[in-house]
Assembly symmetry: C2
Homo-oligomer: 436 residues x 2
């Protein structure tokens, strides 16, 4: 028998408690040990819970509960007291399962090291993409391969909003309001729509994929608040869809031929409609992995929600229990190397750039000259004439360019110089393109 | 240092050898031990190989090689001598990695038991869907959940052929010839097009998903040789695509309300175009999993090929090496229960049925009466008039029905009775429908 301490009984925790109580027999058959729910630490003993649980399980003495357990499941969220309780568990040799991406993206490396030192294990399958098994496939199934790139739709709220904009033509604000009404977005949607949640997950994915420590500070992050209905419509016209992607890449430093480094970023991205990630609809998540030998892989499923996330937590719990029954030591993969982060010269990408220009002869040629100056080659261009009479001098036109791949540095400089052209009224959008 | 014996040096084995020799340092960093390729057993010492490998590694004394190794990688294929060599390795406590689905579908349970008895481990990530991590996610990530259904596109050859038929309108024979020309199908395509390869994988998937032994004999199997261009066109018209699916389901026995059982089958299946599996194109594979808490998951990638399959083998090898370094015993999950296989009364499915009928008044009503008699409800019907003048008595019409879900038994009886109606010239196709 193994004693399980559950910290937190909210959306996910209450489902973990339910499964532990309902499925005891089959969990015991699969683990080789009975998983006994020793107690549930909560902040308020009187809060209403989603599921019916025996009242005597609840406690507000989290430390004492941790001290009594063989296995600790942390589902409180936030930095403290989650961090101290996890460390307390690890230091007495108990293994821990958590879904706390915020904590791991901030303090992961320190926690993993502490776990290793104490022969404990810190599992976190639930932290990156809810129910989707992605940590274990990356750490184990792909351990004999070389992952070169990870592209993830890892935030259901933003995928739902972008998908709504794509299907209905809605503006961002309206799609967000609808998502809030349906419970897909929180009252304060900042962490989701600004990309912070995806950035934490990107850091974790990069750490695992490239065997190197990556923290939240290393992730360049841009949310979806500036994506307009016009961006979506223009993308659609050209056979693209816009997704918020968490991207982790192995790159060459310097001008693309130096030592190995990584680039980790989150931004709205144009993807061709035929790309496997383009078909990921609504609040679903998916992680697309490219590896040297395996080629292209994709993992798809529910990225959040009480029951799906609890499924991932239970998978970690049963796997840890099996290990304890077998008497094997815990092993929390720490980084085996330390790769530098790439600067803008190391990142190769392509841009989709929207411009509002004066509808005069010679504008296109002047804009094209700026691209050429920076060595950026244009893959496609579309011109839409504005309201005024063509060639009348007072009317405007919209230009949309898609470039071939170039360094982020050359692209950023191109955009800056285009902005300074007299004939250019404004740069209306700059979006990266992947998967072409 | 761990000594690795490689048995077989064909499409997959030669890639495993290359990776072991090329990536020694990073594999050592990830395993905690150097993986030394002790030798490669082949049938003929002189055969030409895809990759350059040091000649002194080759041997035709497989048994001696096995006896010298800590880890054995079996990539010869076939039943013997693969089976005896694997048993030899296991009995001396060496862990084994294999990609041999034919052997596992036939002798899996006996081999797993022998491995357990000897504290050895038998891993086979490569056997089900090539590079796609599916064994580990099912066994570990979903170990705390209850899988209810697995739908897999697990044969690239047939998916390529059906995809070609769907995109170009080609007949089966032409699409097969094209697949053979391009190397996607073998000269003797029987194992693929008759569904035998998919059936072996279905047995393995069911065994793991439901924790019960399932062998090849338990799998009801139908290939794609009878799928016509007309079937594909009719499916397309109604928003469906035809895929060869390996299906493993938890079902209720008896009339759907008895004890729990399983149904494992392979057959061409209509899927709605919006289903995640419908987007799996060309020779790619994907496995769609439904679990009680996780909901719907999908795993997508290359299901075959030397390098992708070698990636899966290497993942097993590194994971096993880590375990040996940690000094933990092997654990090959054997079945924890024994579920009965469902008969036709236990399987709920829906049919798409194509009929050629005399174009006379009252035919539709007579056909509809047969459906009603067996309690099968019709979801949709389309009638296409033939060449003769409508109502002239000598002309024919085609009817296509899609039913609601009913037992396989009721559906089969309905089809048999419809065949006996005077006005029915022939039943031109019977296909199952999933995902609706
Ligand atoms: N929800 C998802 O879909 C999802 C998906 C993936 C990962 N996660 C992660 O899983 C974790 C839990 O998420 P959740 O959605 O279940 O959160 P939640 O619904 O807000 O629940 C948090 C629970 O923790 C308890 N708690 C908070 N602070 C505490 C403290 N200081 N002492 C004792 N108990 C405390 C709360 O107690 P009271 O009930 O008394 O307030 C509550 O029961 C988070 O790290 C989250 O990022 C969630
Ligand atoms: N190919 C794929 O894409 C793929 C995908 C998933 C799983 N698999 C599985 O992986 C295994 C290997 O497939 P493969 O495509 O690599 O096969 P393959 O190309 O036919 O290679 C088989 C190798 O085994 C050797 N061999 C056969 N019988 C032998 C014997 N009696 N003694 C010593 N050596 C023997 C052959 O030696 P010679 O060279 O001297 O003839 C050859 O090197 C099979 O079980 C297959 O089902 C393959």
């Amino acid at each position: 028998m193994l004693k399980v301490a559950l910290l937190g009984c909210g959306t996910v925790g209450s489902q973990v408690a339910r499964i532990l109580l309902e499925d005891g027999d089959s969990l015991a058959a699969r683990s080789g040990a009975r998983l006994e729910l020793a107690g549930i630490a909560v902040r308020s003993m009187d809060a209403k819970r989603d599921v019916d649980l025996p009242r005597e399980l609840f406690t507000d003495e989290a430390e004492a509960l941790v001290d009594s357990a063989d296995l600790v499941v942390e589902l409180m969220g936030g930095i403290e007291p989650a961090r101290s309780l996890i460390l307390r568990a690890i230091r007495k040799g108990a293994s821990v399962v958590t879904g706390n991406k915020a904590l791991l993206a901030q303090d992961g490396p320190a926690l993993f090291e502490e776990a290793d030192r104490n022969n404990a294990e810190l599992s976190f399958e639930a932290a990156v993409a809810g129910a989707i098994p992605i940590i274990r496939p990356i750490r184990e199934s792909l351990s004999g391969d070389r992952i070169t790139r990870v592209l993830g739709i890892v935030n259901g709220t933003t995928n739902y909003i972008l998908d709504q904009m794509d299907t209905t033509g809605a503006a961002f604000a309206d799609a967000l309001a609808e998502a809030q009404r349906l419970g897909y977005a929180e009252a304060d949607p900042t962490a989701d729509v600004e990309g912070h949640d995806a950035a934490a997950k990107a850091a974790l994915l990069a750490t695992l994929a490239f065997h190197t420590p990556v923290s939240l500070d290393d992730v360049r992050c841009e949310g979806i608040t500036k994506v307009t209905a016009e961006d979506i419509a223009a993308a659609k016209d050209s056979g693209f869809v816009i997704k918020l992607l968490a991207i982790a890449e192995l790159v060459r430093l310097g001008d693309g031929d130096g030592a190995e480094g990584t680039s980790v970023r989150v931004h709205p991205t144009l993807l061709p409609r035929e790309h496997p990630l383009a078909a990921v609809r609504g609040a679903y998540n998916a992680v697309f992995v490219e590896a040297e030998n395996a080629g292209q892989l994709m993992f798809y499923g529910a990225g959040a929600g009480g029951r799906p996330t609890a499924s991932a937590v239970m998978g970690d719990l049963v796997s840890t229990a099996r290990r304890l029954v077998a008497g094997a030591p815990g092993r929390t993969d720490t980084a085996t190397r330390r790769l530098p982060m790439a600067g803008v010269e190391g990142i190769f990408t392509s841009y989709s750039i929207g411009l509002e220009v004066a509808d005069q002869p010679g504008v296109l040629s002047r804009v094209a000259a700026v691209f050429a100056e920076h060595g950026v080659s244009i893959e496609a261009m579309r011109q839409t004439l504005g309201d005024g009479a063509a060639g009348a001098g007072n009317s405007r036109a919209e230009l949309r360019f898609v470039t071939h791949r170039a360094t982020e540095k050359a692209l950023a400089e191109t955009v800056a110089d285009i902005k300074n052209l007299d004939a250019v009224e404004s740069v209306t959008s700059v979006l990266r393109v992947e998967g072409v």
